[in-house]
Subunit: 250 residues, 3 copies
């Protein structure tokens, strides 16, 4: 079976940086399939990259190599990582972007050595892509670096229980449709409070009229607030980081 | 020969939704080639998706599977379709986006069953991608659902003849270059009226000076209005849906 | 080994033009791997396309075919080219976009014949993609057209030495992060003057504090001006074409 290498970056594509990475991958891992995930993650938005990665990494077949490079600390002291988790491999900077796979039970992690010839501003091309190509060619994780011993950066977004019994969460991202994605793990029933409004949990967009606000369990199992045929972000003036509260029906 | 699955959506890529679909495809149709068409169709713009699909679907080899998911009605009562037309397969919602292939003579159509486990907000991942993977693996159309019997949504954009002999059309889309694409099937010669101006049909952009307006037969056989080295949409203040008239030379 | 065809255009993807090109490639070069470089080059920005191409073309394996179509002169008198350089092939219009490969020593170039059936507004689909497919299928360069004899368009961006000993350069492009890329070939040490400011050359972003301006040797070997965790273009109000001066330490 053809080995797959996926690519997620905040590089855009017009400048040719992703093209360079793909050239390195094609030259060092011939006959692998390159699959674009996204290159339009907002510049330096590690959190956005992490949340996207959380959605797709485990859906690809065992053996897939995921490159994820949103790397504002490039050339500084941050480590460069390769991870094996659930049979998939991941490569990227030590800034939390790989957390969804790295915090999975059983995950193993190595710190990549950085060759002196690597451009200090472009580890995507000179460190991460070569490591991804090696993994795709069957080189073992252990052969790529030294086992991580120092703490690595971990990013999570967990809701907390409030004294009054509500679950306090936040809007962790807003998608292209203006849907507000929260860190509230879905419960059946209950009421959502956001931007001074309160609404019951529903099943899907069609459960309200066009233009109405609706709270539901999104496709990743998290509570989302949407506006049918519209944008909840625009309607509610909501932004990433805003508070939401889930009140479970007694 | 490697089976091809193409992808057209209005999901953007940064949120990871397309990544999830690709993971499902890669896991269920190993060794198929995934080819991106576009993910930046305007949100909920079924018409834009249909017009793009009309351009490319028949140019791919026989056996290709085209996924096309612009799906504002997801989770509601709209059907989920798989189509076989001219040896190609298409999968997407019953909102007219598949019309270019579905209205072709000899096309066959089935209504996909929607598993109870499908997220009501993401049929792209849970209904359409699995169906596309099956088709790419050689499963027959008939095995995927029940033959469509109820009317399906049909979208067309046909010009009409006016009492005065002119052909009345509309601007059906505006491309990235600001070219106005109409639904007027090309005739040799004739005059185009748009936005209060009148101009003869030409052959190509170079037939007028830089900055000048030109009407010509576009690469899909439809009349287009362009500005050489500029944007006709900006120059004429034109929008999708505006009227155009073709007057054929006597 | 699977032959690779890469694609660079200014077509965007939503209109389906790139989809048409990919259909032609898939139909005429079955089992080739299509790799997207970029489709969001600014409309008609031949220079931006050339600079991106300069970064990636030689990083792909020998035998790769690079399609590069930013083509404001389509349908006019400009030639259509296919180039062989360092074992890679390139196809695109004669407007300088292929210069990075074409000006390489030993490069060979043919002028493609343009079939009468080609749409005068879309040579990407009807001229360049078919030629790329043939090259990927092993057809020789010489079989595709006639050796170029008339001068072809050459684009370069070379800095010049000033009477006062400084090297006068320009900002040749601004990347997605707001980094100013110049045509100054890197020297160790020295001082950069840009937008009325003067700064020493550094090694990487982390050599200055967050929000500070830094000049360094970029990953393509050219001097770049960046703002750590910010945009140099916004901070300095700089634009493509602006002057920069390098003063080498005595």
């Amino acid at each position: 079976m053809t080995r797959i290498i996926t690519l997620l970056t905040d590089f855009g594509t017009a400048d040719g940086y992703v093209g360079e990475m793909k050239g390195v991958l094609a030259a060092n891992a011939p006959d692998c399939a390159l699959i674009d995930i996204a290159h339009d993650v907002s510049a330096h938005d590690v959190e956005g990259g992490r949340l996207a990665l959380a959605r797709y990494w485990h859906r690809f077949p065992v053996g897939t190599v995921h490159l994820a490079v949103v790397d504002p600390g490039v050339g500084g002291s941050r480590a460069a990582l390769a991870v094996e988790s659930e049979g998939r491999f991941l490569v990227g900077p030590d800034n939390g972007i790989l957390s969804p796979a790295m915090l999975h039970p059983g995950a193993r992690c190595v710190s990549l050595s950085i060759p002196a010839s690597a451009a200090p501003t472009f580890h995507g091309r000179d460190v991460f892509a070569p490591a991804a190509a090696k993994l795709a060619q069957g080189v073992s994780l252990d052969a790529l670096g030294t086992m991580c011993t120092t703490p690595i950066v971990r990013r999570t977004s967990e809701a907390t229980r409030r004294p009054d019994g509500g679950i306090a969460g936040t809007i962790i991202t807003i998608d292209r449709f203006g849907n507000l994605v929260t860190n509230l793990v879905a419960r059946h029933g209950g009421t959502i409070e956001v931007a001074g409004r309160s609404m019951p949990m529903r099943r899907t967009y069609g459960d309200v009229a066009s233009g109405e606000i609706v709270a539901l369990v999104g496709s990743s199992g998290l509570v989302e607030i949407a506006v049918r045929d519209g944008s909840a972000a625009a309607t509610l003036g909501a932004a990433r980081g805003d508070s939401v509260v889930l009140r479970v029906n007694p």
